[in-house]
Every structure is written in C-alpha cells, then in structure tokens.
Amino acid sequence: MVFSWIVSILRPLGMAFRHIFKYRFTVKYPYYVLETSERYRGRPVLDLAKCVGCGVCATICPNKAITMVNVEDRRYPQFDAGRCCFCGFCAYFCLTSALKMNGGYELSEYDKSNLIYPPEKLVKVPPPPPERKKVVKLKKLSLSTGVTHG
Amino acid sequence: MIKVEEEVVETLKQTFTEYVVEAKVQREKRVTVVVKRERLVEIARFLRDNLQFDHIASVSGVDYPEKNEFMVVYHVWSIPKKVLVALKTSVPRDNPHLSSLISVWEGVNYFERETWEMFGIIFDGHPNLSRFLLPEDWDRGFPFRKDFKLRTKPE
C-alpha cells in the first residue's frame, strides 16, 4: 500500500525526466514550414480555360465568398478570402474542375481590399514559401522517440 | 422490432383519449405524440412514471405564423426502452402560455429558458425565466420567430 503510494509519486518524476531527451515536436514556423498534404484546402485557384461560368461555386458557397463577375462578356468567379471558411465545396462541386484548392495558406494582407481576388488574380498560383523557409516533410514516425515533425 | 413503440402509442391513446390529438410511430425508435396543452403535465408525468421516459433530449419551439401558433416539441428518450418520443403541443401565438414541465423532468430547465428567450413562449411555473443567451439589454424581440427581421450587414 505504502509502496504503491510511493511508486505513484515517483514514477511520473522518472517519466518526465525521460521525456527531456526525446525529440521536440514544435515547428519553428516562420523559419520552417510544414509540407501540406495533397488535398490541403488553402486558397482556390481558377483555371480560366476550363471555367464555363456556370456559377455553381457561387451557389454552393455557404458564406457568399464567391460572386460571379463579368470579364469581357464572360462570367467568372471572384473570390473574397475575408469571407471564406475553406470548406472546399466550390472546388468539389465545380463541374469542369476549373476551380482547385491549392495548398497556399499564407493569405494575410495589410489591406483588406487585397483580400478580394478578381478572376485575373485568382488564376495565379500562390508562390511557394520564400527561400529562407525550409520545408519540413512529414517525417516518418519513429516508434521509439515519437517524432512526427522536425 | 417495432412492438415497443406501438405499445407506447396504444397506451397513450387509451389513457388520454380526448387529449391525444395524434399518436403514431414515425419509424423504428421514434414515436410522435401530439397532445392538447391543457393536460400536457399529466401526460408528461404519465410518460415518465408509467412508460419510463426518463431522459429529456431536447425542447424545441417551432413558429408557424400562417397557422398562428407555436409548436413546442419535447423529445424524451427512454433509457430502459431505447425509444425516443416527440411530445408535441401547440400554443396560440397571441397568448403563448404553457405550463412548465420542470416538475416532471428537471432537465428541461435551460431548454425552456432558451425557448422562452428565442420564441417568447412563457412557461408557467418555471422558476427563472430571465435572459440567458442574449444580452441583458436585448430589446429587438424574439429572434427565432419567423417574423423577426434579420439585420443584414451594411455593404
């Protein structure tokens, strides 16, 4: 009884000391970025050649982040990142897969008006992370140390 | 499989013939009972004591402006029987009074308070019908009614 009492006090101490020497989990974000998965839902990117202007994306969008605008007699989606909830329905229900979700998630802007992406801006793929950033791949999980990230 | 549900419906119909407007088995494990509001407390107590409906699941108000009435739906689950009963009763829109079921199921306390706040249905006998989810100084009426005017965001 007394023995188990003492064990229950000392064992956590030992376990905590053991964890001091395990790998860290934190990713130092601005210097290192995580590689996102293939399906990652960042900002949608438009393929102008495929878009038929049907407006399904605007219909399905729960937050009215997508509105249809006219560009040279054609209708194209305009995207407002400030309203987007990143559900990905626009890309999923797109009839011609003209809209695709892209992994780019660094969407913050100083000016609110920059958050609105007219079709010509929506076409551009978000640039990859700057040079100084190192992309950390999802490391193989090692069963002994429990590391998942760098 | 569906025997327990039918038994519940039959018992209710026989015991409260006049006050049960409609009772039917919606599907497996779901029973819908529409009752008159005058005997709501008695029927609820009968459900709890004789039919073992002991676990309150939800209380929802529904607004039907064209019929000029509110529908209040008590969903009660029975842990031993594993059946959910929807106990419905209608309340006139111009005189929305209903006796509270807090003496039967204590769990309806906050549900009724919320329903009062959102629909303006007054539950007689409820100990504390005061502002709960909305701000203390809310004065724009009852937001979940259908005639509540939504304020749209200024563009």
């Binding site: 009492w5 229950s8 064992r11 956590p12 376990m15 905590a16 989990f25 996102t36 998965s37 293939e38 399906r39 990652y40 839902r41 219909t59 399905i60 969008c61 729960p62 937050n63 909830c85 990143f86 559900c87 990905g88 329905f89 999923y92 229900f93 979700m101 999802l138 999980l141 069963l143 429990g146 990230h149 | 494990k29 779901r30 002991d54 676990h55 309150i56 699941a57 939800s58 929802s60 529904v62 739906v73 969903h75 689950w77 842990i79 594993k82 959910l84 199921w105 204590e106 769990g107 306390n109 549900f111 919320e114 502002r131 709960f132 989810l133 909305l134 701000p135 937001p143 979940f144 939504l150």
Partner: protein, 361 residues
C-alpha cells in the same frame, strides 16, 4: 457569515468564453449561476436561411473540437428527410472520421481537465499526440480542424493512397503512448487526490438532470447512441462502452480515457473491414427534401447530440434545432458546485467537458 459574490470570467484563465457567478463563503462556493451567451451565433437561425449543403460548415461551427461527429448528426437527419441510403463504404469512412474526431476531442478535453488542476504537462502531451490524428485528417479531408467532410449522400473523398499504413502506424504508436499516459497521469497520486470524490454525480441525479455522454456513463448508466441505436457502421463493429460507478471527476476522466482505447480499436476494425464501392450517392447541389421532420441522434465526444430538422418542402430547412451535448451537461454544473471548495470549480467544469461554443451555439 458573509457571502462574497465573485464573477468568474469571461476574463479568467480557465473560464472560457462565459462567466459564472459564484457566491463564496470563505473558500466554499454556496451557489453558482452560469452566465452564458458570449459566443451565441444563432446557428439555428442561420441554418434556416441557407440550403441544406451550405449548412454543413455552419453547423460544424457548433463545436469545432469535435467537427466530425457534430456534422454527422446533421447529415444523417437530412438523409432521413430525403430518404436516401448511403453506400457501405461511405458508412465506414464516416465511422473512421467520427472515431478519429472523438479521439482528437477527448485528447483536448482531458488536457483541459489537467489544466483545471494545474497540470500543463498532460495538456502538452495530449496536444502533442492530437497532432498524429490532425495529420491524418489533413491527409484524408484536406483540413485539420474544420473538415466539412460529410455531405448529405456520403463523404467528399475516398481514403487516399497509403492511408491504411499511415493510420495503422500512428495507431500503434498512440496505443503505446496511452499506456504511458495511464501511468503518468491517471496513476499519479497527486492527480488522484485532486480529482477523486470531486463533483460526485449520482446515477439518479444524472438521469434526472438529463446529463449525456461520458458524464452519464461515469455515473453508471450504460447509455451510448452507438449501441442503443447503431448508426453508420457501428452495428458491424465490436466494441464495449466503458462505464464507471463513482461519478466523480476522476471517473469522468477515466471514461474518456477508456473511450480513447475503444476508438483506436474501432478505427482498426473499420480500416480492416472496409468494403469497396462508391463513397457517395448523387444528391443535387440544392437538395429539396419532402415535407416532414427528422430527429437524428449521434454520440459525439461530449455526449449525444440531437438534430431536429423540419422541412417544408423548400430547399432550406424550416427549423433546425441543435440539442447540443454541452448545453445538456450544463445543468449539472450549478448542481455540482454547491458547497464545494472554490478550488474544485475548474475541476468540475472541465471534467464535465463543457465547451462554451457548444453551449451557446
């Protein structure tokens, strides 16, 4: 004797986005009143103004900690209204996502319970391993927290390449860690002293107050929607419902912990049994279910959630009532915090796993 009225929150380290009014006599709380509504978004009203599929991300915001199971109920209610049966494979994928979501949510909830007694290590370790499943979610759905993955008719995506191996490896690791956790936290004498006998909820009180989920099961009631009314693929999977008799904070934590073990086993079985086939039946973009109503129950991490949806035949629901688990557990909070030391208030609050988002909706 003089009673001091202390306002606990919303600017308080552990209160969350709500407040309690505590009447304190010395160090003993004699009465407690919740003051909620700081995050009231009127989701039920919002849902009346959107189409059935647009509502999926909206109802998910009820409680983002357990996004999978929260949407599960809504989607099932809509399917019941429309009278569609989803393919077997979709059912299994839903089960996997639901259980992973339960693990994620329980890890967070247990971590918060540890925070209530001042045990940051437990929170950090749990958050750490939560990441294992967030990565899997990212792989499967494309989002880490709010993965609007279920839509009426099925699920959005099929399991990706290599998901089985990755998931199995992570589950192996996680299962080993769970044993460590049991030793480190639940057999830790200080943690036991702090949570045993705190906030004892007896069986009859739990039923009377309408408490749901792990809190109800910790009081000795074996009630779980997954067994009572099996949805998705739960009727084809072998698992048990952990229960405890004591009904105190430790028992509530223990039930959650054992549910983690069960969830791991459920995911394993589902991944092994999953049949081939379609993952979605065709449903129009704006579905219009016939007139009627449906009440669907789903066991989320915090307990049973009920969606009562009334359809009037148009493309928007006439009424959506969300009977959220934390709102139902909330009634136990004032009941338990009478004549307890002030130091037990956070333990009671977080052992019930109340989430203000979920309470307010």
């Amino acid at each position: 004797m003089s009673i001091m009225r202390v306002r606990w929150g919303p600017q308080h380290p552990v209160s969350g986005q709500w407040a309690f009014w505590l009447d304190v006599d010395g160090d003993i709380v004699v009465n407690m009143e919740p003051d909620i509504g700081y995050t009231h978004r009127g989701i039920e009203k919002v849902a009346e103004n959107r189409t059935y599929i647009q509502n999926v991300p909206v109802v998910e915001r009820t409680s983002v900690f357990d996004a999978g199971n929260i949407v599960f109920g809504y989607v099932q209610a809509v399917e019941e209204l429309m009278g569609i049966e989803i393919p077997e494979r979709a059912k299994y994928i839903r089960t996997i996502v639901g259980e992973m979501s339960r693990i994620v949510s329980h890890l967070y909830g247990l971590g918060l319970l540890a925070i209530a007694v001042g045990f940051e290590t437990m929170l950090m370790w749990f958050i750490n391993d939560r990441e294992l499943f967030l990565d899997l979610f990212e792989m499967l759905t494309g989002a880490r927290i709010t993965y609007s993955f279920f839509i009426p008719g099925g699920v959005l995506h099929d399991l990706p390449q290599g998901f089985y191996d990755e998931a199995m490896r992570r589950l192996d690791y996680f299962e080993r860690r769970l044993k460590d956790y049991w030793k480190m936290f639940f057999l830790n004498r200080t943690f036991i002293t702090r949570t045993r006998g705190v906030g004892v909820l007896k069986r009859e009180d739990a039923i009377r107050l309408g408490v749901v989920g792990p809190n109800l099961r910790a009081s000795g009631v074996e009630a779980d929607v997954r067994k009572d009314e099996p949805y998705a693929a739960y009727d084809q999977i072998d698992f048990i419902i952990p229960t405890e008799k004591e009904g105190d904070a430790y028992a509530r934590g223990g039930v959650r912990f054992h549910e983690l073990e069960q969830s791991v086993s459920i995911i394993r079985q589902a991944l092994k049994k999953i049949p081939d086939g379609k993952i979605r039946v065709k449903v129009p973009i704006t579905p219009t279910p016939p007139k009627g109503e449906a009440y669907s129950r789903v066991e989320t991490a915090r307990g049973e959630i009920g969606y009562y949806i009334i359809s009037d035949g148009s493309n928007r629901p006439y009424r959506v009532k969300i009977s959220a688990p934390s709102f139902r557990n909330l009634l136990a909070m004032p009941f338990l915090s009478r004549n307890v030391p002030m130091a037990d208030i956070p333990t009671i609050y977080l052992s019930l796993d109340l989430i203000p988002l979920d309470v307010d909706r």
